[in-house]
């Protein structure tokens, strides 16, 4: 089951801390209640995104992993809460 999202953010090819920095900027463009999908190929995002949500207070909705050959795309979902 795919998670529904409103805004997409591509961070493929970028390393820590870029996905988090881009997320923090992108989330400002969303309305409260909207969901941001962040796609990354850096495995660290699996832990970093929940940690970012815990600190900033936004809601972490989950993770989807998509394996394409020998690269994995990690799709994380964040709901803007404020």
């Amino acid at each position: 089951m795919a998670i529904q999202w409103d805004v997409h953010l591509d961070t493929l090819g970028l390393f820590c801390p870029m996905p988090i920095i881009k997320t923090s900027k992108k989330i400002k463009e969303l309305a409260v209640g909207q969901v941001l999908q962040v796609v990354s190929d850096d495995e660290g995002i699996k832990k970093d995104m929940p940690a970012w949500c815990e600190t900033t207070g936004h809601e972490y909705l989950g993770l989807e992993e998509e394996v394409n050959g020998n690269t994995t795309h990690y799709k994380t979902y964040v709901r803007k809460t404020k």
Binding site: G13, C16, P17, M18, I21, S24, T55, T56, K82
Partner: protein
């Protein structure tokens, strides 16, 4: 009759964070590329998480915030010579290990560029953009023959140890790199 205010922990927490954000201070003493990079990665990460970040540059760390290629304008020749020999600029920092007279650092930078990893100059711009505050230590500036006008624009303060401690005592994360 007294009314009891209902406390919503989520709202209370949000209010608390609004008033008093988590604070981070980082003392950057090292002028090595790998260490300064780590400092900036932590600083930009923390700023992205809504924390208020202050970086204190002292000793070799000052090299990161010097304008590249600008020679020292210190008054006495000893300091001027030191400022000349000690090259500055965010892009000139050597690796702490495997520098190999510049070759190791060049290879590392090449690998980083190929992988689209931001280097020290890019991370520093990002940090400024995210509102990270830069403070330069005045004592070591003088000691190392570095004058204020040879530093990059956007240094928020020139200060000493008391300023650092006043910030650090209220911060949750204090790092020395």
């Amino acid at each position: 009759m007294s009314t009891t205010a209902k406390l919503d922990p989520q709202v209370a927490l949000a209010e608390l964070q609004e008033r008093k954000p988590d604070r981070v201070t980082i003392v950057v003493l090292s002028g090595n590329m790998d260490r300064v990079m780590s400092a900036f990665i932590i600083a930009t990460g923390a700023a992205s998480m809504g924390m208020q970040v202050t970086m204190f540059f002292t000793f070799w760390g000052l090299n990161a915030i010097r304008k590249p290629g600008v020679s020292s304008k210190a008054a006495d020749w000893l300091r001027r010579a030191f400022g000349f020999l000690n090259r500055g600029g965010a892009d000139t920092l050597p690796l702490s290990r495997f520098h190999f007279w510049g070759l190791g650092t060049r290879i590392m930078k090449l690998v980083m560029r190929r992988n689209r990893m931001p280097g020290v100059p890019e991370l520093m711009d990002m940090a400024k953009d995210l509102g990270v505050r830069f403070i330069a230590c005045t004592t070591t500036l003088g000691l190392m023959g570095i004058t204020k006008d040879t530093l990059i624009d956007g240094i928020d303060q020139f200060a000493g140890v008391s300023t650092y401690l006043a910030e650090a005592k209220d911060a949750q994360v204090n790092l020395f790199i």
